[in-house]
Symmetry: C3
Subunit: 645 residues, 3 copies
């Protein structure tokens, strides 16, 4: 697989006479791909119906002539001001009932048919014009679905669409009442028209109602995206891509991914550590200028699954950003490390965001590879270093890992709806599991709950999977893999009820959950032999063997043959024990990593990345601070060391 | 007095063929009462005007046939969806102006006449049908008035009703302007129609305006409830009950209680410790799975007063609940201890909530005595143990305590309106006083500010009573009891002005408040001899004797004969000193308790409850962890010890 | 310059027969000025159009007859209830879209022309009636512009006015699009009518849009005030004053000040320490009952500049207030110290707020010089002590300081719009600089960015000045003063873009900002030789000399000749070093002060104030706790010592 660098570029922001030099400079820096167009609707169609794309023709031509491959974005994340006059009800509405107004981006409700039609129209226009353009080698739909909390809208438009969605799903309102248990507080509906959205209720709405609305909201994103992919597929053979974000779970990325060829994501390690990760103050201080050592890898592996093997980093942080609570600069080496780590996880392209820092508007404090005046920013040299490393490596392909991790968006919707304990969060749980696997030096593959092809895996982890289809578990067994389920797996039906045959309800695994406790911070329970239970503890019974129990004797991990059930939320030490026991059982070879150092197998290579601000020693070899060491056959073959700045 | 167990049951949630076995199982578990019906309006009247109660006839019949006494609830806390179509303006409105929508419960504004009429109609229907039914032995009106912050509504409906209420109270708008001091910032009204509700003002609204609105809001609850009680009284001789909640002060429970025969409350010790009590982290950790050792007793004693001597626990936590930030499980023994403690305080019935955990809707994670699949949950055995203990005890009656505590809802409205210091809260203050009395081993009676019958009391505490009627203080004196007033007692008139003759303005007590300070955390002032002043400090002067002063010499407790004034908010150690001094003065015999252990005199018995997770020693006898030891004549006669699980 | 005491009085709150005695008592207490009228509109015009001012005639007459000079306020901060019926759209709207209702004060949108006309009308009426009244010796417009966050309104009225303001500023919408960089996210407008206010956007609005709206909002305050000053100037020769608040930066006080003769402010030291200052817990505890030792001086010096040399304290805290989260009482001596400190900074009048505590409405817990019942409150004696000290001192005039500090409201609007780091705040930065200068014992003058007359200054500090006009810097140089610029100075153009020639873009200073980092708490960087960088760090390069650098070698302070640039936010120790280096360079003589002790040169006197609760020693002389010692020629001449109470 060929692996290359890219960059994000906005020709509409710069005088046309700068384009050719910019293109030449990109190529000189080792860049091969350039993404453009995704925010340019007001330049494409300043007046409704008057489409002016000549400037874009020239931009694509100039970039292409320099040897760059263009990724062209549909501009639907930023409808122009006139669109809101034309469709005043297209705006999303927040949970308090306030419209989310024009003036930034993503100002639309996914359910609005009028706006979908407008998106179809503009997509059709650009697809017709550039679908066969030799320089346009890939397409991006919209931009960062779900960013700024934009999946869920409580608009009238959404309400009507939700009623219609309910009609499709339940057919009769009696069936819906039954499915949701509306009898509980006399919440029964007499018609679909009576159904409102589950915001502003006096106390908690029915969780089944909320889960249905969350499913509907996700489906709207899928449908919105599909409008564009269907048009694009009719006009081009180039792969279709969307650029997802980090830790956005409001829509099912696997579902959206079904209609795309490649998954990509926008990786901002320092901002994400600051604004969207649970971690101790010490951890956040230690990795302040590097980002969390597992956050990027997690998403790389996730999006590799979402992209059915094909994935990119569409936007790579190149320096300080503007949007986190605090925005420190990356340590020297990190801008290169992040890209190389992505390549180690199989990225086809890593594309820095952005070429040149814009001196105006919202992101003027967001670094680029160039400063606003065109001088090189610190990231530029690191991009060049990455290109050099790529040159030194042979092409590789990703191979299957020994371990798979089930990832399920609907489980997040369920547990957000009813966390039961303020410390319980689905992503937090899965991420804790992933960290445990990575501390063990393992490469990890993500799978969705639709996966039934587990052949080749030795162990499959499924923490927090709300609804367990029996065929999922049996498919794991049939593949000969160990299934490590829980905590909170098989805990509800897909209509948010406690399963009639109890929890977790897994056949050939005599474990049942008798009672559930959620725990405040500092109320963890010690586990015999080391580690702790935090946040969540299920009281387990049954005939299965007890592998781990609390010091008070409560079972924590039980199992029978190839089916294990973990009833509690482990702390780091306990995750290490669970992973270690599972690896031993499943015949997976571990290679424990020191803090901040991680490795990833990629074809013939082992990439070792060091997120620490000091050098590390791995197998007797020095891995530079914020650096990368690539091993082949146990011997280091390439290093990336920029830590001296 | 006969004391029995009950349970809450929802026949509409379960297939009819389960009812008879459920009833038999209840009786077998020692249960004698069953509450039903309070959320079943949509089943009683699925279509407006088409009332179907045959199912309820059969449910009552089945339960009654098994020997159970039925408490029937009016279903007015959960109006069906069609009601909101019929009366779109019946919804309450929050302080930001947003309607509080259908989709959970308590979705009504107390001021809405149309909805009151609907409630009268359905109450009339069930009263006519079951008023003489031999199995329906008590009635409950609505459910948990004020739960989910539902007393106060800023709807247009409420505004009109408030204007009318003002017209009744003040007669002329000039009188209102004068009463409220509206001249202050040119806030005068020219007519009652100009009066708006005191939300969304630019800065604080006039506290007199707010207090009037709070009085009005409380009065609306009273009037709403009275609509039902008047109808019920015309059709039945069975006692009328409402189930209040813990730490809800938005309406005057004494006023509502006037129209009822029995007070009851819903006791959730673990949830309440977590979500509605000020306490140190250490305290909350220590009693995480037991609840606060004084919170239940406080409400037992309060509702005994609200019920004019007759009171129940209508809902008793039987295991983990679903609604607190964290929901741990009770330690073994606590589910029994809570019930026995209620009986020690004179409860006639303690009714577990609920019989069987519902597998659907909002409370699916709320434990019952049975799990969703009908297996017994841990609470069931503890209920049986309680029934056994009741069998072993002779019937007793509550006798008057030595000490009374004045409790006044309007004082909370006043101090919420103008806390003056972020650490000052009326409930917090009264609860701190109550804790001090209980640490001294005392039984306590609550009285309202309308009480004038103090005969038999040796000491009466009145902390934080905003407006002191002189006849209240003189009635205490006439009864020969010591009055311990303050802090912040007699601090305003009932129209929220500083009293013309100063604070506290108590005759025969030469103390005056010259200046008031509120204090941030950690800015407490040490008191000579031990203890601290926190949150609130009044600078006192006058000829009365100074009993306690700060190390800087500022008086803290002053008094003359049988009238004492406490000018500061004491910490625990200082409360202990104040209680001890008052007991000595009043001739009250103390029995200091260790932390987590409490006692209550009940007839011939002394109940000792141990909230600790380890056993305690009282008078040389072991009180089990989470257990109860009942003494008679100084000797233990019955123990409840379930701590081994 | 004559310096005198005043007081705020509300004749409309008290029976007319109390006025004469009140006036006599004021005079007896040493008070010479009395402010009245500013909240009395409902008494002046209870019914629209029916103006009744006879009571005010009598009040002014009574006060004047007693020898008091009256400051008469226009009553426009408290429009009566009928005004809102007449102009329902005059209410401001908050950022969530909710109207800010009648019921307190300041309930108007500055942009509402109808309300401006009403203000003109009532001002005309009182100006005509009292413009030549011999007792009315000064006028106050409105009251505390901006208090309760009232500058910014998102009303429809404001939107229309903003569109008009944009039309005036930019002339064409194309120019506006270009100026704001609206192309960035297709945010271009096709007409001015399309421009909305920058609230409720999906993510951050364009900072240029916000800055324009903030400028507009400030301009509306200026225009609103000017309506009144133009009318008043036509009718009176008495000086015009407005009473500003502490740390209100939402409008440009210098601009408002252009239309007034005297600046005044309302000084509440204890409340301000609690509710609007960043400080450590230790600092807040140490000065809990004194206020921050620099906060008052800061505003005194600021408003001296806003008033072009003439300034007052219009409201001086006399005891505990009612509006801060916690409201402790001043230590004995502080009520006097605050007034004397103001006089040391050149106040013409210090006016206590209020004469008598009102027993009703919002401020009933706000102390006065008298208690509600007319007894003297603790502040009264301290006011008398101040009058005594004034009698002992010779009249003086303020002379120019050695050091000037640039203060710029628009910089706060810019950095609030785009803080880039949660720890960065403009006021916080300027205040930190001011504190550093005061710790060095220096007197400080404030200047606006319009100042070009720097003659006489030895050093000028300009921290955080967003846009640096080159003529400002050259004017400093021409005056022979050292310019200490930064951090974050010259960082944007006045249309919120990164300056084309880079940051800070100062000629004859070869420094450039290559990259900017914002830092979370506890992530400070040590500076070689002592002190730390916090919150904000710019990576500097260039040929200028490096005076300070971090231990990692990053430049922190660079300079060339008389132009220095500070690239980081210093902690206290580092500010001390920067100040000390600048003083040495500029030939300014320092006199380092101990914590809590400050001095101020005033004419021939040096005032030393001691904010500590214990005495201090200055030049071998004891300065009492919470006391003042006035030096002349190095020898103490007058002391104010009330610390014993
Ligand atoms: Zn992005
Ligand atoms: Zn309940
Ligand atoms: Zn004021």
């Amino acid at each position: 697989m060929k692996q290359e660098l890219g960059v994000c570029y906005y020709p509409e922001h710069w005088p046309e006479d700068m384009w050719a030099k910019d293109a030449a400079d990109m190529v000189a820096a080792g860049i091969r791909w350039v993404r453009i167009g995704e925010f340019a609707w007001s330049r494409m169609e300043a007046v409704p119906g008057q489409v002016t794309l000549e400037w874009l023709d020239r931009a694509i031509g100039t970039l292409g002539a320099a040897g760059l491959k263009v990724v062209l974005g549909t501009p639907t994340a930023t409808p122009p001001r006139w669109m809101v006059d034309k469709h005043p009800d297209m705006l999303a509405v927040d949970e308090n009932g306030a419209p989310r107004k024009f003036g930034s981006r993503r100002h639309y409700c996914f359910s609005h048919q009028g706006y979908r039609d407008e998106c179809a129209r503009i997509t059709q226009i650009v697809a017709e014009r550039y679908g066969k353009n030799p320089h346009v080698v890939a397409w991006q739909t919209d931009n960062e679905y779900g960013c700024h909390d934009t999946v869920i809208s409580y608009s009238e438009t959404a309400k009507m669409a939700f009623q219609s969605w309910c009609r499709d799903r339940y057919e009769t309102v009696e069936a819906l009442n039954e499915a949701w248990g509306n009898i509980f507080w006399s919440m029964d509906y007499a018609s679909f028209e009576q159904i409102e959205l589950p915001n502003l209720t006096v106390t908690d709405p029915n969780p089944a109602h909320v889960l249905a609305f969350r499913r509907f909201s996700s489906d709207q994103v899928v449908a919105f995206n599909k409008v564009q992919t269907e048009i694009l597929k009719a006009h081009t053979d180039a792969p279709l891509i969307h650029n997802y974000m980090g830790r956005i779970l409001e829509f099912d990325h696997f579902d959206v991914g079904e209609d795309l060829d490649i998954a990509s994501w926008d990786s901002y390690p320092i901002g994400f550590l600051s604004d969207r990760l649970e971690a101790s103050d010490e951890h956040k201080a230690r990795f302040l200028r590097q980002g969390d050592p597992d956050m990027q890898a997690f998403h790389h592996d996730l999006y590799r699954a979402v992209g059915k093997g094909r994935w990119w980093v569409m936007e790579q942080q190149p320096g300080p950003v503007n949007w986190a609570p605090y925005n420190p600069a990356p340590l020297p080496g990190m801008v290169a490390l992040w890209a190389l780590e992505a390549f180690a996880h199989g990225a086809e392209v890593v594309s820095y965001f952005r070429w040149r820092q814009a001196p105006f508007a919202q992101e003027q404090m967001h670094a680029g590879l160039q400063a606003p005046d065109g001088r090189e920013a610190p990231g530029m040299d690191e991009a060049r270093a990455v290109a050099d490393v790529l040159d030194m490596l042979k092409e590789q392909d990703t191979q299957q890992a020994d371990v798979a991790l089930v990832y399920d968006y609907a489980s997040d919707w369920a547990w957000k709806t009813q966390p039961q304990g303020a410390g319980f969060d689905y992503f937090r749980l899965v991420f804790a599991a992933y960290r445990g696997l990575r501390r063990a030096g393992l490469s990890v593959d993500f799978v969705s709950t639709n996966c039934r092809a587990f052949s080749g895996y030795k162990a499959v982890f499924a923490p927090g999977v709300a609804t367990l289809d029996p065929t999922l578990v049996s498919a794991i067994s049939e593949a000969g893999a160990l299934a490590v389920l829980g905590p909170r797996a098989g805990a509800i039906t897909d209509e948010f009820m406690i399963p009639p045959n109890g929890r977790p309800g897994v056949s050939n695994l005599d474990v049942r959950v008798d009672l559930i406790e959620s725990l405040p911070p500092h109320a963890g329970m010690d586990v015999s032999g080391g580690g702790k239970v935090e946040h969540w503890h299920e009281r387990l019974s049954g005939a299965a063997e007890v592998f781990l129990k609390t010091q008070d004797g409560a079972p924590v991990l039980m199992g029978q043959n190839d089916r294990w059930y973990l009833g509690s939320f482990p702390d780091e030490a306990l995750w290490d024990r669970v992973v270690s026991m599972a690896c031993e059982q499943a015949g997976v070879v571990m290679a424990p990593m020191q803090d901040g150092v991680r490795r990833r197998r990629f074809g013939d290579y082992d990439f070792v990345v060091n997120y620490n601000s000091f050098s590390a020693s791995v197998q007797g070899h020095r891995v530079p601070a914020c650096g990368v060491l690539v091993f082949e056959g146990g011997a280091p073959v390439v290093a990336c060391d920029l830590s001296s700045g």
